[in-house]
């Protein structure tokens, strides 16, 4: 049963690479946005909040299609990036990472935002009276105290990214070795007459990865509580 074929390995490793890159690139943006939503009041805040959550409620195929229109070779942003920076998303694994990053973004931002909101502002005030400029208050007090939430967000985002299907296949198709992630491979296998056992193996791997991520996120959440109480 657990005789994983080279094609399956390719899909697994590609999924891991796509999800890792998507998470690492999305995290700084996620932290910045979470901080804005948690600590600042500005015009259009609820609009921004809604935009962040959009991938969660839009049909993934719509998100994928919008990505294709924007970041495809003839898309407004995609065309410019290809011409000026040589970065191409369409039908590449980088496009899969972009799709996964966008789809997992709401799950990444939420725990970070909640953990920043939980940081006692009186501690930030104390840091300021001790001579810390605003960005150093963030770096030395807010972020370290929110760190478990940041890790929880990264794990959840990673878990979502590794399983993403709809937006990815719409945006970058299902090309073995380039854009065929675990999910796309399962999709192909269950449409193939003898693909059942291979599909089952990948399904088990997906379940293990997802459960592992949820457990890890829970552990980080518990550490956050201990950290906030200074134990």
């Amino acid at each position: 049963m657990f005789d994983i074929s080279p094609t399956e390995w390719t899909a697994i490793l590609l999924s891991l690479r796509v999800a890792v890159i998507a998470t690492l690139v999305a995290t700084p943006f996620g932290i910045a946005l979470a901080w804005l939503l948690a600590r600042r009041d500005f015009w259009g805040k609820s609009l921004l909040d809604a935009a962040v959550h959009l991938p969660l409620v839009l049909p993934p195929v719509v998100t994928g299609y919008l990505l294709l229109l924007t970041f495809g070779k003839r898309g407004l942003v995609g065309g410019w990036l290809a011409d000026h920076l040589g970065i191409v998303f369409a039908f590449r694994w980088t496009g899969a990472a972009l799709a996964c990053g966008v789809m997992s973004f709401p799950l990444l931002v939420r725990p970070i935002r909640l953990s920043i909101e939980a940081v006692d502002r009186r501690l930030e005030q104390a840091a300021e009276t001790l001579g810390a400029a605003p960005w150093r208050v963030f770096a030395t007090v807010t972020l370290p105290l929110a760190l478990p939430g940041v890790l929880a967000g990264m794990v959840l985002g990673f878990a979502k990214a590794i399983g993403e299907f709809g937006a990815t296949i719409t945006f970058v198709s299902n090309i073995p070795g380039e854009t065929q992630t675990i999910s796309s491979a399962i999709y192909s296998l269950i449409q193939t007459p003898d693909g059942d056992s291979a599909a089952a193996r990948l399904v088990i791997i997906s379940v293990v990865l997802a459960v592992g991520a949820l457990v890890a996120a829970e552990v980080f959440a518990r550490r956050a509580t201990a950290r906030l109480h200074g134990q």
Partner: protein, 223 residues
């Protein structure tokens, strides 16, 4: 020297205060709701006055007419809050060192030792804030503020959250601080007995107005 001449409207509450204090410990005395905390927060720069000036140690940190408002982190003040507000993710040693790091000061082991000895916190250095008693936390908070080498130390009811016996435990440290640390202090309290022991000058506040200013004897006038 501390010179304050400000007005500030906070919702329904209006605060007006003008005084110049040369004293080592300026006591802000008044009942709760009299504007003591608002006044000390204005001196700290956490609250921006609507009108007026604040001068700390010869430097104008607020002057609304000239558009001057130095942010809190550049005022070189120390602030001890009623709740110690130690950083829970740092141990005591790191808490004490925080102000020095943020102000870019060079290490000063002699002063570090002096403050640690003065406050008797040497045994706590490797502990976490969560494991400390209320009195210990407040002593560490005092040390942390002192080690940032402030030119003015602000204390907002530093004994307010402690029970009677803990108060008596901390009070001698505050007296030593006043006599040995050489940093002028502004000390907020609603407890006349506490101020009689510590303060050299008193600013009496009532409903946001200064009702008396002078030596400790103004406390006997009642409020």
């Amino acid at each position: 020297m501390l010179r304050v001449d400000i007005t500030k409207q906070l919702g329904e509450f209006s605060l007006t205060a003008a005084f110049t204090s040369e004293g080592r410990v300026t006591g802000l005395f008044g009942a709760s709701g009299s504007g003591k905390t608002s006044l000390i927060n204005t001196i700290a720069g956490l609250v921006r006055p609507d009108r007026g000036t604040i001068v700390i140690d010869g430097e104008t940190v607020d002057d609304t007419a000239a558009g001057i408002h130095i942010p809190t982190y550049r005022r070189r003040i120390g602030y001890v809050f009623q709740d110690a507000r130690l950083f829970p993710h740092l141990d005591i040693r790191q808490n004490l060192d925080y102000g020095r790091r943020m102000n870019g000061l060079t290490e000063d082991p002699a002063q570090h030792k002096r403050v640690v000895d003065l406050l008797d916190i040497g045994a706590l250095l490797d502990r976490r804030p969560g494991k400390l008693s209320g009195g210990e936390r407040q002593r560490v908070a005092l040390g942390r503020a002192l080690l940032s080498k402030p030119r003015l130390l602000l204390l907002d009811e530093p004994l307010g959250a402690l029970d009677e016996s803990r108060k008596l435990e901390i009070l001698p440290y505050l007296v030593r601080l006043r006599d040995e640390a050489g940093v002028p202090m502004v000390y907020v309290s609603h407890d006349a007995a506490e101020l009689r022991q510590l303060a050299t000058q008193i600013v009496m506040l009532r409903h946001g107005q200064v009702t008396a200013f002078g030596g400790v004897k103004v406390l006997t006038g009642g409020a």
